[in-house]
Structure formats: C-alpha cells, structure tokens
C-alpha cells in the first residue's frame, strides 16, 4: 500500500505543451493597431458623408446607396471598411476565444464557427459591393426603383 494520494499530478496540464514561436502574433498585434486607426477614419468618414453632408440623413434611400456604389471611390471605401472591420473584429474575437476557452477542443470548435461566419460575411459583402446593380435589365417592372424607368 503506497502512501500516494489519488489526485493526479497537478502540474501536468500546466507545463507548456509546445513551443509556438513565430511572428504571427506580432503581425496580428500590429495589424490590430493599424487597422484600428484606419477604421476610425473610414467609419467616421462614412458617417459624415452619409449623415451630415448635403441633405443629411433624409437623403438616404435606395437611390442614394445605388448612386454611391456607382462610384469606384465609394466601392473601394466600403470594401476597405468591410474587410478591415471584419478582420479586426474576427481577430479580436479569436483573441477572446483563446483567453476564455480552457480546452483546445472548445477553442477549435469556436474558432471554426468564427471562420465560417467571417468568410460568409466577407464573401457576400464583397460580392454585393461589386455586383450591385440598382436597375437589373431582366427584372419585372413593378420591382424596379422609380428612377430606373426614367
């Protein structure tokens, strides 16, 4: 009969499992700072142009958005905003998952879900920005915006 107690050796889960050296987290850290600054400019520029300039908030309707996306400048602006915000936000949630999930399995599942949501939103958003057509040629007339028939 040994005097050893039944508790598992407490140190095993605490030893660092593997070395994960590399610049990945460094670049991710720098990206968060840089994209944060850019997003402040992009988001407030977006809000200012949409809500303050000209007729202000009253001017926003289908035609306003259609008109904006007819210009490559605003397409690029919105594309940059979409991508930066999505990567910035997703990376932030990834960090939160790393901090709060205690098991690697939980981490894996949550991060996979996150990646799926990220890919879906970015692909769909990018597609909409570039393929948006306010007056599709083969659409029924009653569904078209008033300015299309003019």
């Amino acid at each position: 009969m040994s005097t050893q107690t039944a508790i598992p050796t407490p140190r095993s889960p605490y030893a660092r499992r593997k070395t994960t050296r590399g610049n990945y987290e460094l670049y991710s850290w720098v990206f968060m700072r840089a994209s944060g600054v850019l997003l402040v400019v992009l988001v407030f520029g977006h809000l200012f142009v949409n809500l303050m300039v000209g007729d202000g908030v009253k001017a926003i309707d289908f035609a306003f958005v259609g008109g904006k996306w007819a210009s490559p400048f605003w397409q690029m602006w919105d594309l940059a905003m979409l991508w930066l915000a999505m990567i910035h936000g997703t990376n932030g949630v990834r960090t939160i998952i790393n901090d709060y999930a205690e098991r690697d399995v939980t981490r894996g599942i949550l991060k996979s879900l996150l990646l799926v949501a990220f890919t879906f939103t970015v692909v769909l958003g990018t597609l909409v920005i570039f393929t948006f057509d306010p007056c599709p040629t083969d659409a029924p007339a009653e569904l078209l915006a008033s300015f299309c028939t003019a």
Partner: protein, 256 residues
C-alpha cells in the same frame, strides 16, 4: 506610508507608556488537505494582534498556538525572499509586508493561496510551472568572447535602463494575478517577461535576440492584455505592464 499607533488613549489607560494597542482579528483561511478531502474549505480563526502586526504574524499565531496543521511558506518574513505571496482580501500580496490594520481587521480577512497554480496544501502552491517559464527565458548573463580579465563596466544610464526589473523576487504575485495565466497556464506570465527584460535591456548582455525569439511566441508577450493586474499585485512596485510593453516594442522594432 508610516505606521501610526492608534488607540493611544487605551494604551495610556493601561498605564503602559508606549504599549502597542491590541485588537481581535479573524482570519478566514482557505484550507486544503488532499489527504483528508479533495474539497477546499474556509476555516476561521480569531487571534489577538497588535497594530504593528502583519498578516504573517497572525498566521504564525494560528499555526503556533491554535492549529499546527496550517501550512504556508515563509522564509525571511521581511519581504525579500518572496515565499509568502498569497491572496489576501482578494488581492495578491506578501503576507509579511501587509499590515493587518491596512486590510480592514474589523471584518474577517480572507487568506487564499495564489491562483492559477496547483495547490499542494493549504496556502502552498506548486511553483514549478512558474519557474519553468522563468528558466525558459534564460535568466543569466550571456556574453561572447574571452573571459573578462577586469570588471565589466556599465554607465549609470545603462544600468538605470533595466533597474526596475532587477527588483523582482520571484514571488509569483504578478503571474498568479494575471487572468490570461488563469485560463490554461500556457502563457509565460509577467514574471518571466520581467526577468527577460532585466537581461534584454542590459548593455553587457548579448542574448537579447534569443530572449526576444523565445518570448515572440503565441504564449509569449502577445498574450498580454494590459489589464495591469500584475503591476497592481507586485509587492516590489515594479512597473510590470510597462516592462512587458517595452519588450513588445523591442520585438516590433526588430521585425520592421
């Protein structure tokens, strides 16, 4: 802060000039003995303490006079050896540097082992994971060339560059106050980074690149969320979060 003698009138009434006022204090201690039970329990003890007593003195009194089975670490008992870091009233402190009167002795004072490290018994934790991280950052001078034949001289300014981080006593108060370390214990922890900082910014040391590579890890400095828990916990007043940020900055300037 200076210790001020309170209740001088009481002492005067006793007719003992200069006698230190005494009071009753209750310590609520987190007890854990794996040989008895897997569950940790709270246990309260009330002892008579003096205005000049520290939490460690109360623990001594309990161990020596009430319950000899109470287990905790302490060596020098004067805030230098770093053995008796514990969570007192929810904050990591050294029991030997915390005066009872500073942690509100009117209510029971809670005393727990530091968090994030496996508890061995009562207030004693297994420090091995903590020291493993410390060893990984190579806490020794790395130089090249011949063995020096005379003193390795350093300017005062060069010495001041890393002065703050030389104060570390490896008590683990910072690392065990870090919420990122609590998660899974994979993070190197503030103490390891502080001790790497001590050599990275030492003009005599040549191992900075190696140390930066070691800490440029998924579990290295980039897991720091600058919550400042470590800076608040440090009984030596080291600006721990600042040191971590300086190591981050050194990595970024090296990478770009």
């Amino acid at each position: 802060m200076t210790a001020v003698l309170e209740n001088t009138t009481e002492a005067a009434q006793d007719g003992q000039a200069g006698a230190v006022a005494s009071f009753e204090v209750t310590l609520k201690i987190r007890r854990y003995n794996p040989e008895v039970s897997e569950e940790a329990v709270w246990e309260e003890h009330t002892v008579t303490a003096h205005g000049t007593d520290r939490v460690l003195d109360a623990l001594h009194k309990i161990k020596w006079e009430l319950d000899g089975s109470l287990t905790f670490r302490r060596s020098c008992a004067h805030g230098v050896c770093g053995s008796d870091a514990m969570r007192i009233n929810g904050r990591n402190r050294l029991a030997c540097k915390t005066l009872l009167k500073d942690v509100n002795p009117d209510k029971p004072i809670t005393v727990e082992p530091i968090k994030g490290l496996p508890v061995v018994k009562d207030l004693v934790v297994d420090m091995e994971p903590f020291f493993a991280s410390y060893r990984e950052i190579m806490p020794f001078l790395i130089t090249s060339g011949n063995e020096p034949s005379r003193e390795n001289i350093q300017s005062q300014a060069d010495r001041d560059r890393f002065d703050d981080t030389t104060k570390c006593i490896l008590c683990a108060a910072c690392t065990s106050s870090c919420p990122v370390f609590w998660t899974d214990g994979q993070y190197f922890g503030p103490a390891a980074i502080v001790n790497a900082h001590r050599f990275i910014f030492d003009s005599r040391d040549e191992g900075a690149t190696q140390r930066l590579e070691i800490l440029n890890d998924k579990e290295g400095v980039w897991r720091c969320r600058t919550t400042f828990n470590c800076t608040e916990a440090c009984p030596r007043g080291i600006e721990v979060t600042k040191a971590i940020q300086e190591v981050k900055r050194a990595m970024i300037t090296r990478a770009f």
